[in-house]
Symmetry: C2
């Protein structure tokens, strides 16, 4: 986690993480963004989307393993993921990390920093990604003029609270097997909401990240995936996952069914 060094120069070099002029020119705004049904502009009228567009800052591209922000950075912007995937994690006094979430296109990053005016987790790209920078001060101004925007923002923050309460439920009283089922079913639903296949998708994160997020070790994740595979619940090829029995997985996620390790 903390030891993950940015592997620059894979597809993008360090310079790419700053704004690319040609993209600025091509910038089409929220209305044209495929995520505007999920993201901050959701439900806004065209005129209001326009106003939102005007305050949105530059786009930022991040190479895999590059940090969008780090704990301790002062808070100025929220970020909307345009494409790619991120993880956010907190590091405790002993230097161990806990991943608190995985974010994908349409998700908003940085809301936890509003309270203290300072980020207290790291946000790192899991693959080459792009975000919209949303200067929070400007957004606050706009809230006064676009009530629908404010209301949606509150819904987003509230949903973030709900998401984390669900994570507490998972970490607090589910067995390993159920945790992984919940994880897979969740990912499935999130891809479905974005128009992708609910049964076939790529995990963007390492087994270690999954384990960390679910409060388990990498070995446990590996063993569980093997078990799920042997039971015909999933098909796994590297990070490509196919859910072969979504119904059973959902039942396991709900806790109404379980699977024993085979003899």
């Amino acid at each position: 986690m903390g030891r993950a060094r940015a592997r620059l120069g894979a597809l993008y070099n360090a310079g790419m993480s700053t704004t690319i002029p040609i993209l600025q020119t091509l910038k089409a705004g929220c209305a044209a963004c495929s995520m505007h049904q999920l993201c901050l502009p959701m439900g806004l009228e065209d005129a209001d989307i326009e106003r939102l567009d005007r305050i949105i800052g530059r786009r930022r591209r991040l190479a895999r393993d590059e940090a969008l922000y780090k704990a301790g950075d002062s808070f100025r912007n929220l970020y909307a993921v345009r494409f790619g995937h991120f993880k956010t994690y907190q590091v405790n006094a002993a230097g161990e990390a806990q991943i608190t979430g995985f974010q994908m296109a349409g998700d908003l990053l940085g809301m936890d920093a509003i309270g203290a005016g300072r980020h207290h987790c790291d946000a790192v790209a899991l693959e080459d990604s792009e975000v919209c920078e949303i200067p929070f001060a400007n957004l606050e101004e706009l809230f006064g003029q676009v009530p629908a925007l404010l209301r949606h923002f509150h819904r987003l923050m509230s949903s973030e609270i709900t998401r984390e309460q669900n994570a507490m439920l998972l970490l607090g009283n589910m067995r390993a097997e159920q945790r992984l089922a919940v994880f897979l079913v969740n990912k499935s639903a999130r891809y479905a909401a974005r128009g992708y296949s609910p049964t076939q998708f790529a995990l963007r994160m390492s087994r270690e990240d999954i384990g960390n997020y679910l409060g388990l070790t990498i070995e446990s994740i590996s063993r569980l995936l093997s078990r799920f595979r042997k039971l015909g619940l999933v098909q796994v090829d590297k990070r490509e996952v196919t859910l072969l029995d979504p119904a059973r997985l959902k039942a396991m996620a709900a806790g109404t069914e379980q699977c024993k390790p085979m003899a």
Copy 2:
């Protein structure tokens, strides 16, 4: 948890949970409330506190074990705790609960319901308590007129996210001993912030509730408390706790120190 029936008629009868006329008359508003430095009106000017006062609904008293709201209830109000203590918990498909937080005077309840317009956890009084009902629709109106209020509200929601991320860290990668240390140190800090002793306070919740919150069993909590007691870290009498070695407890909470069970 789910089986806890409201034990009415202890100090207050069922009728007390509705508004008591004499209290309405005596109602002095936020400015006079001892919690206004921590609660929603924090940092507001007198004139704005006045405006906030005008939208605040009735006060509600709750007897021990009485529910302020239940999962599924439609969301209309936020609640500010005036005195007493609450727990919020979510129930999963299998009927098991996970306590997601303990709230005390000055805390705001219900923010997680804004997103869906519906509560998805139960909030239950741990002792006889009182809350201010804050109609959210009115609060939203006021946001447009009192920017400082909106800003503080955002800080509160954001802090709620932060709190839950810390809970994830706790549940995801701390051992039992460290979890309990964090719990005690947290309580200590929260009482200190309210002007009470940081070293001596009453736990308002059962061992079962503590265990549930920390992702441990009641037996583990009991054993850990015994161990802490034998090591001279705390003194425990029923639910009365005295922190005898706060420094050591803080070190344990931070993960820089640990204590083995004695031979």
